[in-house]
Each structure stands twice: as structure tokens, then as C-alpha cells.
């Protein structure tokens, strides 16, 4: 294993100083001369035909500069799954029909926000209401309202994978159980509401600043929907106040800002309100999960039959990926000798679900882990032992899907058990207290090119200078997770520089190398990190050549960049400072600057991901016997994320995931009535506050992932998955109530408890 200088240390994160003093610019902070303000008119109906739109009065309102409906813009459908155009089911502004309460119908741009808002109320839309469906059952029923004509049965995606003879395996199993779980929608609930600012220059080229995780995807889809060329659209990601998956698409306001900026010749800003975010924003897929698993009498898994319906809401959004992934996650953690998965993505007349941290994993893992806990009890095997017997290990193959590289799962189980004294506490229950366990495995980015990018999955450009500094350019998007820290940190390690020697430019499609698919699926550290290393290696080759020539070294000398120097490992006295080496190499190129490109595209890595991470989590809870209120007292986590590049950031991700998953398990949910979201404020969409948080103790299990940059892989996203099943198991331990439908609300606990 390598010894690191910068990697593994808590270098001060890039941008935190700007954020601490209030100087970091987020999209809504941008103010351009002459800037206009836009607002969107949204459908008040869950499903309706648009008969007529009259914008006359709105246009006549003083201060209004423009009003658009689908009549005024190119009618081009878009969606992230470009590889399969059938899945692209959204228009920018509704054509003929609206499909959920909040569906965008028109946009107004005016001299200020108040005027734009007032103009919205002057647009008259005549609707003919249609029957609507708000749940999976209604949508898949014979004669259900058809939400998209192209999919008369309302199922937009089927995903099937299988291996072995599942029926035979069940028949030969000693113990088989079948369960159905229901999991609900939650919001990403990033603190920064979505915003975009667009500007158009006199040649008609557009610059868009937007709160996004995917500047490249936005650039491509914006160009397509505007009918422009990609290079005529520049997308810049300013600081982003969190995304959690919900900012990974081209959004309607991006288009409207750009279209109106071009049409009016003035910069245009759209900023969503929190109410809009909650009422219409992307959310985690609710799912109905049927799962059947078989075991031998000594607890060895024989087969799994997993059938999942995803409640996708009115449009596909990132639903196709979630449909694929919830199946993969159901098959990742344990050795399933045979399996069958069928995922179906169902349209309903609700705000579209999409990617929210975990991307199908929290749902699927809740089912997997709860069933493991139930099976353990019925088989009379300790839940840890049952997992250890079936756990995947390094080198395992998930048949038909993938091969597992580094794997510290078994060690995670042992470590978390030890730290939490799980076995002892489970055997000696205390009244009102419970302890439970959940585990996860997660991806380090996907390998499936659904966006059909024509570029590498990630890219980096490194420029080095004679003054001993470097400039890293990458389209990777820091949305708070810290890629603007970790990527230069990797470069610093590779080039033997200090963090302060490196300038970072990121996430500007006109300035940073093509391309990067964005920040989602925990892909950035591994993919962009590898791209950085690739570029750094090419730079180093040039520096090593220069140093070799300068000292007339034998070509067999091994050289390295460390502590600001470039030298022979065997003869450290034969070396130059980094800046001298750069100056020399530049001379060799007759002044051409030293610039290198690096890239990463996963090839030959199966169908899922280049690398898997793992972890196990134990929850301790206290349940109030009178009120049914669950208080999570402590979370213990052991996880395997490969090399820990920046310990503070890894901890931060882990701790943040506890907050989000605690909410998923206990308090967060969208309450809907006839397709209308009632939880439209932070007062009623209840995410945990500082007062609600449990204690946390965590352990990083040491592994080295050869596919990852300097041994690193995913950290922090997969951790949203084990928390809910661990808490549910602890609640069961305390009360006898077994949760089949999240969230675990106190009234369910009181109704379901068999002891306490």
C-alpha cells in the first residue's frame, strides 16, 4: 500500500472560507445589469387537457416583458436517457395536457419578481379535467387513466435480469419467506432552492448559470431543446447549496431563462420558492417491493425473487435508472445463487420522482435488510452470523452483472458489532430500548451510458507552471460534497505539490475539458479522480524526461514528484524543484506550456459499477411506551470506502446521511390529497433538526480499491440505505412492531407493538 503525504489529511476544503464569510456566490446571488425576473405558471390539476390559454392580459400588464407557452417554443421532448429516445417524455411547457399539480404551463418574464407573479394570475387557462391516478394500483389497473399515450398501460420501463433456476432453488430450500414492503417519497430538501440565470450575447450564444449537479447534461439538453448547437450554449455551475440527486436534469426554468434571455436580449433569472420545491420538486421513488428469499436450514441463501413497482409520478425523470438500480441493489450484498428481478416504472399523476441520494438503494435495501433480520429470527441464527455466512467477498461475481473488487463487508460487520456490543445488547434487552442492524453495498458511479455521451465519462486537464504551481480544470461539479477539494488533493499527491500550489477551475462547460457526466451515483471521486491521475501521469512523464536529461540519468532510474521536487528515487540528490523541472520541460517544447489531458471511462467493468463499497450500521433506540415515539439514541457505523482521501469529508458525508436517513425512517414524508402536496413548508415537511440527532460513532475499514484513484471508492451515499432498516429492527427489538411501510410513525408503533 502507498504512503501518502496529502491524501488522508484534512487539508482545508476549497471554498469554505468564501462560504464562511458569505462571499461564495450561489445562482440567486448573481445580479446582472438589466436583469429580468421570471416565474412559472403551474397546473392546478393533476390531470387535465389544456383547451385554451389566454395570455393577453398578462402581456398587457406594465412591466411584463414576455409570456410564453408551448405555442411559442420548439416542441422538443427531452429527458436524461438520450440513448433511448422513447423514454424522453417531457416538454418544457405542457403541450395539450398537464399531468400533475405543478406541471409547468407557461412562463412570464418581467422587470421584477412581483410583477411576474402578478402576471401569472392574469393568464387564463381553460382546462378539461381528466380522471387521474395517484398510486401504482390505480395506474396498472385495466381501464386506468392513460397518462402518456405512448404507454397505454402506464408502465414506461421494464427491467428484467435473472440467473439460475429460481423456482427449483425455492423448492429445494428449507426456509422460504415472501414479504411486501411499501416505501415512501422523501425530498432531497437541499437548502438552496433551484435557480437559473441566463444571458445571451449579440451573436446569440448563451451563458447559463444554474444550480445543478450536471452542467454537461444541462448544456446538451438545453442546446437540443433550443434547437441550437452544443457549443453555442455555455453552462456554468456556481456554488450549489446541495443537490442530493434532485438537481441532475435540465429543468424547465433553465430553458425558460435561456429562451427568454435570447428573445429579449436581457439577462433573465428564475428562482423557485420553497413551496414550489416541495409541491412540485423531484423526490425519492415510492416503491412497492415484493421479495421472496430462500435459505438452507443453516442459513445459506439459495434464491431471491424481487419484483418492484416504482411510483414514478408523471414523467420518467431519472426513473429508468432507479428501475435498473433498485434491482442491482437487491442483488449486491449477499451471495444469491439464483435470482430473478423484475422492475416496472409506473406513471401516476404526481410530481415526478427522480434520483434522491441512494438512487433505488434505500428502498431496495430496506427490504433486503429487513428480510435478513426476519429470517435470522425465524432460523434461530444471530443476524450478524446470518449475514457473515452470506456476505460477498473480494473477487466474488454477481452472476450476469458484475465482479466485486475490494470488499471489507465482513470486517464491517465484525467491527460494528464490536463497537456497539450488538450481540450482548440484543441478548439482554432493556425495557423500552432496542438495538438493530442494517447493511449496504453501493456503487462508485455507473457504467451504463444512458446519456449516450460522446466524450469520456470524466476528464481533467492539468497545466503546470515554472513558478511551481498547477492549474486543474475539470467539469466535475462540487455541490457541497467536496470534489473541488478532493480532486486537487489527488493532484497534489501525484505531483508532490501543496494544496495552495493548485488552482481549480471546475464545472464550466466552455472552459473545462469535455466532459463529465456530473455529480451523482457517487461517481466523481472515482471517475474524475482517475482522470486527474491520468493527466498527472502524462505531466510527470514530461517532467521525468526533463530531469533525466538534465542529470543524464540512466533510463532505468525510477523518478518521483514529492515535496515540491522531481528527483530520482535512488539518487534523491539528482533532482530539481517542481518549478525548475517544469521550466526545463517547457524549454524542451520551445515554450509550449505543459498541458495534459486525462480521462476515465469505465470499460469492461460489467453492467453495474467499477467498484463497490460496503458498510454495516447499528441503531440503538428508545421507545416511549405511552406515545410510541421513537428516539434514536446512537448510530454505530463501520464502512469500507477504500482509501480515505479526506477524513473530515468522509465523516461529514456519513453524518449527513444519518440526518437524511433518520428523516426517511421516522419523520419525513409528503402528505398528498388528490395529488396535491400538503407538506409544502419545512414546518410540515419535517426533517431532523440538531435536537433530533442521535450520537454517532464510526469506523472506516481499511481497504484499497485498485480501480479507484489512490485506492478510493464511494463514500457517504450508500450510507443512506442501512439506517432505516437498522432503526426498524431496533424498534422491533424494543416493541415487537415490525415495519413493512416507512416511515415508522408513533401511531404505527402503538398499533403494532406486541411488548413494551
Amino acid at each position: 500500500m502507498q504512503e501518502f503525504v496529502t491524501i488522508g489529511t484534512n487539508v482545508t476544503r476549497t471554498h469554505v472560507r468564501d462560504k464562511a464569510i458569505g462571499a461564495a456566490i450561489y445562482t440567486d446571488d448573481i445580479r446582472l445589469p438589466g436583469m429580468l425576473h421570471g416565474r412559472l405558471l403551474r397546473s392546478p390539476y393533476a390531470h387535465a387537457r389544456i383547451l385554451h390559454i389566454d395570455t393577453t392580459k398578462a402581456k398587457a400588464l406594465p412591466g411584463v416583458k414576455g409570456v410564453i407557452t408551448s405555442e411559442d417554443i420548439p416542441r422538443i421532448k427531452f429527458g436524461n436517457w438520450r440513448l433511448f429516445p422513447d423514454t424522453q417524455d417531457e416538454y418544457v411547457l405542457a403541450v395539450d395536457k398537464v399531468r400533475f399539480i405543478g406541471d409547468e404551463v407557461a412562463a412570464v418574464v418581467a422587470i421584477d419578481r412581483d410583477t411576474a407573479e402578478e402576471a401569472l394570475s392574469l393568464i387564463k387557462v381553460e382546462y378539461e379535467e381528466l380522471p387521474a391516478s395517484f398510486d401504482i394500483d390505480t395506474s396498472i389497473r385495466e381501464g386506468a387513466p392513460v397518462i402518456h399515450e405512448a404507454f397505454p398501460n402506464n408502465i414506461s420501463i421494464h427491467r428484467k435480469v435473472s440467473h439460475g433456476d429460481v423456482e427449483k432453488a425455492f423448492a429445494e430450500s428449507d426456509y422460504v419467506r415472501e414479504d411486501v414492503f411499501h416505501v415512501h417519497a422523501i425530498s432531497g430538501a437541499y437548502l438552496e432552492p433551484c435557480a437559473s440565470v441566463a444571458q445571451c450575447d449579440y451573436s446569440g450564444k448563451i451563458t447559463l448559470w444554474t444550480s445543478t449537479q450536471v452542467p454537461y447534461i444541462v448544456q446538451c439538453l438545453l442546446a437540443t431543446t433550443l434547437g441550437m448547437r452544443e457549443n453555442d450554449v455555455r453552462v456554468i455551475k456556481p456554488h450549489v447549496g446541495g443537490g442530493f440527486g434532485a438537481k441532475m436534469e435540465l429543468r424547465k426554468w433553465d430553458f425558460c431563462a435561456a429562451f427568454m434571455a435570447k428573445k429579449l436580449g436581457k439577462p433573465v433569472k428564475f428562482t423557485l420558492s420553497r413551496e414550489e420545491e416541495f409541491e412540485t420538486g423531484r423526490r425519492r421513488h415510492p416503491m412497492r417491493i415484493y421479495s421472496k428469499i430462500g435459505f438452507t436450514k443453516d442459513g445459506m441463501l439459495t434464491a431471491k425473487d424481487l419484483q418492484i413497482y416504482l411510483d414514478g409520478g408523471a414523467y420518467n425523470a431519472m426513473g429508468p435508472t432507479a428501475t435498473f438500480l433498485c434491482g442491482n441493489y437487491g442483488l449486491m450484498l449477499y451471495r444469491y445463487k439464483s435470482y430473478r428481478f423484475h422492475g416496472q416504472h409506473v406513471y401516476t399523476n404526481k410530481p415526478p420522482a427522480s434520483a434522491i441520494r441512494g438512487f433505488g438503494s434505500p428502498q431496495s435495501t430496506f427490504c433486503t435488510e429487513t428480510q435478513m433480520n426476519m429470517a435470522a429470527e425465524e432460523l434461530g441464527i444471530d443476524p450478524l452470523d446470518l449475514r457473515l455466512r452470506n456476505a460477498v467477498h473480494e473477487g466474488d461475481v454477481i452472476p450476469e452483472l458484475s465482479k466485486i473488487g475490494s470488499c471489507g463487508f465482513a470486517e464491517c460487520l465484525e467491527k460494528v458489532a464490536e463497537a456497539s456490543q450488538f450481540r450482548k445488547k440484543r441478548k439482554n434487552p432493556k425495557k423500552g430500548r432496542g438495538i438493530g442492524i442494517g447493511c449496504y453495498s453501493f456503487i462508485s458511479g455507473g457504467v451504463f451510458n444512458w446519456f449516450n455521451t460522446q466524450y469520456p465519462f470524466s476528464a481533467a486537464e492539468v497545466r503546470v507552471f515554472a513558478d511551481g504551481t498547477a492549474h486543474l480544470l475539470t467539469m466535475a461539479s462540487d455541490i457541497g460534497q467536496g470534489s473541488d477539494t478532493v480532486l486537487p488533493q489527488i493532484l497534489a499527491e501525484e505531483l508532490g505539490l501543496k494544496m495552495e500550489d493548485i488552482r481549480v477551475t471546475s464545472a464550466d462547460t466552455a472552459m473545462t475539458p469535455q466532459a463529465d457526466l456530473g455529480s451523482w451515483g457517487s461517481r466523481v471521486t472515482l471517475m474524475a479522480g482517475n482522470a486527474v491521475i491520468d493527466a498527472a501521469k502524462k505531466i510527470k512523464e514530461k517532467l521525468f524526461g526533463a530531469v533525466t536529461a538534465h542529470f543524464n540519468l540512466n533510463v532505468i532510474h525510477d523518478l518521483e514528484c514529492k515535496n515540491g521536487k522531481v528527483y530520482s528515487k535512488g539518487r534523491p540528490d539528482k533532482g530539481l524543484t517542481f518549478g525548475e523541472a517544469v521550466a526545463l520541460a517547457q524549454k524542451f517544447q520551445r515554450g509550449e506550456p505543459l498541458v495534459e489531458r486525462g480521462s476515465y471511462t469505465p470499460r469492461g467493468k460489467g453492467l453495474v459499477t467499477p467498484a463497490f463499497s460496503f458498510g454495516a450500521q447499528v441503531a440503538e433506540v428508545e421507545v416511549d411506551k405511552d406515545t410510541g415515539l421513537v428516539e434514536v439514541k446512537k448510530m454505530y457505523t463501520a464502512h469500507d470506502c477504500g482509501t480515505v482521501l479526506h477524513p473530515q469529508s468522509v465523516e461529514g458525508q456519513l453524518e449527513g446521511s444519518i440526518q437524511m436517513s433518520l428523516g426517511y425512517a421516522l419523520s419525513e414524508q409528503f402528505v398528498l390529497e388528490g395529488g396535491k402536496t400538503l407538506s409544502t413548508t419545512f414546518l410540515d415537511y419535517k426533517m431532523p433538526s440538531a435536537m433530533d440527532m442521535p450520537e454517532s460513532e464510526s469506523i472506516c475499514v481499511d481497504t484499497y480499491e485498485v480501480e479507484g484513484p489512490l485506492g478510493a471508492k464511494e463514500a457517504g451515499e450508500g450510507l443512506v440505505s442501512p439506517t432505516a432498516p437498522a432503526i426498524a429492527d431496533a424498534v422491533y427489538d424494543a416493541t415487537g412492531y415490525r415495519c413493512y411501510d416507512l416511515p415508522i410513525t408513533p401511531d404505527k408503533v402503538l398499533k403494532g407493538k406486541t411488548k413494551l
Binding site: 420558492s273 406515545t627 400538503l678 407538506s679 414546518l683 419535517k686 435536537m691 433530533d692 401511531d747
Partner: protein, 293 residues
């Protein structure tokens, strides 16, 4: 999000505020902390043409205590001022606790106890204890003033007896008799900082181990904070035993009339009423026993 348009006045005397209220007619409203009012205006739930800010009226900022009479909380006394007031913490701990249970720090720095009452949410944190303690609301108009028991103040969600041109200038809490104790209990099903799904205020007077008088007020389970009269009867004349607590809880649970909303189901609210009533009575009795008569 922007607010609908209104004119703004910040008079320095109560009589000027009353006069403005009358002059400006419909659409004129008074504002204390504004934390509820501005949200209502923003959502279009209130149509306001004139906003009369009370903050410059110095006399109504005060919190005063006269040990023979009681505690007076001025209309502009902020929730945090009430929660942290040394005399209130010592002599009216439940009043302080209710103020502290209201919303978060920032809102408590802005909002007022009187504003919380005037907003008349069924779940208003400050109403149950104050009602249980026999608080009286002081209403002033241009040509006079009147005192209304808090119990008669509420008329429905968002509705009170305040008449056109009237301003609540303070709420008065009589000094509790010797041998008395009060408690405030509240709960949310969704986290520690939340609108209460149920809240309960109780004041008891005890003689030895026996309860002489009980006032139990339930919040968030009816259109207005309500007395649990039957539960009170269960307790009065009895020692505070486990059985009595349980019975009082059952009675309170039976007599409340909660609705289901996105914060909690009616059925669950009834359960909470039982639990919190017992807890509040128990704590009030304990506090009473520390101040024997």
C-alpha cells in the same frame, strides 16, 4: 416571496394605534412580532392594506410582576423574554416553558406571547397554561378598555373576540394561590422542533395530598384551546394516584375533539391527550407539593 402591498405605520402610543385602526378601516391590522401575520399575508390568507406595527409603543414591551396581584406580560414582550425572565422562571415556570416550547430561537426573538394568543391557532403553545392559570386579556380601544378571561377569548381557528379598533395590550396572569402548581406538556409526532400535535396546560391547587381544584386545558384538539372539564372533576377531591391520573387521561381523551391533519391523526391525538394530561397533572401536583399552603 414578496408580500402583498400595504402601508406601514409605527405609532408610539396605544391610542394612536387604536385611532389608526379605526381610521384605516377594513384591511388595517396590528402587528407585534409579525412571525405569523407576515406568513399569512404572504400566502394571501389575509388582505392587508395597512399594517400598524406596535413595536414603538414602549409601555407594552414590559413584563411586570406584583406579588399580590400577578404577572402582566405586555403585547410586545417577546417569547424569549418571557421564557428567560427570572421572575417568570421562578414563580410561573410553566408559563416560561410554554414560551420556550414555541417555534425556534429566531421566532422566539421576534414573536410575542400575546401575538401567539391573538393568532389563535388551535395549537398555540402559550394558550393552555395561561388559560389554566386563569389569565385575563387586556383589550384597549380608543374610548375605553375591557378585560376578558382568556378562556372566553378564542372563538375558532384564527378567530378571537377582538373587535374592530381594539388592541390587546397585555395578558395578565393572577398570582397562583399557595399550594398550587402548573405544568405544560406538548408533543409532536415528528421531531422536537414542531407545532405541537397536542399540548396540555394544567394548574392544580393541592391541600396535603388531595387536589382541591384542577384546571386542565387541551390544545390542538379542538377549534380552540378547551377545558377538559370531566377530567378536572376526576381529579378534584382526590389524591393524585396512578389510578386517578389514568382515569383523568381517559376522560380528557374522551372529551377532546381532534381532527386529522398532516401533523397527526385524530385517533393518535386522542391517545396523546390521555398521556399528556396524566403527565401534566402529575407534574403540576409535584410542583404544588413544593409550595405547600
Amino acid at each position: 416571496m414578496s408580500l402583498t402591498k400595504f402601508d406601514y405605520y409605527a405609532p408610539e402610543r396605544v391610542e394612536d394605534a387604536c385611532r389608526l385602526l379605526m381610521e384605516k378601516g377594513e384591511g388595517a391590522m396590528v402587528m407585534a412580532g409579525g412571525t405569523d401575520l407576515l406568513i399569512k399575508i404572504q400566502r394571501g390568507l389575509l388582505k392587508t392594506q395597512t399594517l400598524i406595527d406596535l413595536q414603538k409603543i414602549e409601555s407594552i414591551h414590559d413584563i411586570t410582576f406584583d406579588k399580590d396581584k400577578g404577572l402582566s406580560i405586555g403585547a410586545m414582550a417577546r417569547l424569549n423574554d418571557v421564557a428567560n425572565h427570572p421572575v417568570i422562571k421562578e414563580k410561573f415556570p410553566a408559563v416560561s416553558e410554554a414560551a420556550l416550547a414555541t417555534a425556534n430561537v429566531q421566532i422566539r426573538n421576534m414573536g410575542t406571547v400575546v401575538g401567539n394568543l391573538c393568532n389563535a391557532a388551535p395549537s398555540a403553545d402559550n394558550a393552555p397554561v395561561l388559560m389554566a392559570m386563569g389569565a385575563v386579556v387586556n383589550l384597549v380601544r380608543s374610548n375605553g378598555e375591557r378585560q376578558i378571561p382568556l378562556e372566553a377569548f378564542f372563538q375558532g381557528p384564527g378567530l378571537t373576540v377582538i373587535q374592530k379598533g381594539e388592541i390587546v395590550t397585555s395578558v395578565f396572569v393572577p398570582t397562583p394561590p399557595a399550594g398550587s402548581g402548573a405544568s405544560y406538556q406538548h408533543i409532536s409526532a415528528r421531531g422536537k422542533v414542531d407545532i405541537s400535535a397536542v399540548c396540555v396546560g394544567v394548574m392544580l391547587t393541592m391541600k396535603g395530598k388531595t387536589c382541591q381544584t384542577a384546571r386542565i386545558v387541551l390544545g390542538a384538539v379542538a377549534p380552540v384551546p378547551m377545558r377538559a372539564l370531566r377530567a378536572e372533576k376526576v381529579i378534584e377531591g382526590n389524591p393524585i394516584s396512578k389510578e386517578v391520573l389514568e382515569k383523568a387521561g381517559i376522560e380528557a381523551s374522551k372529551e377532546c375533539k381532534p381532527i386529522s391533519d398532516l401533523r397527526a391523526a385524530a385517533e393518535y391525538r386522542k391517545i396523546l391527550v390521555g398521556v399528556l394530561t396524566a403527565r401534566a397533572v402529575n407534574e403540576a401536583a409535584k410542583r404544588a407539593s413544593k409550595k405547600p399552603n
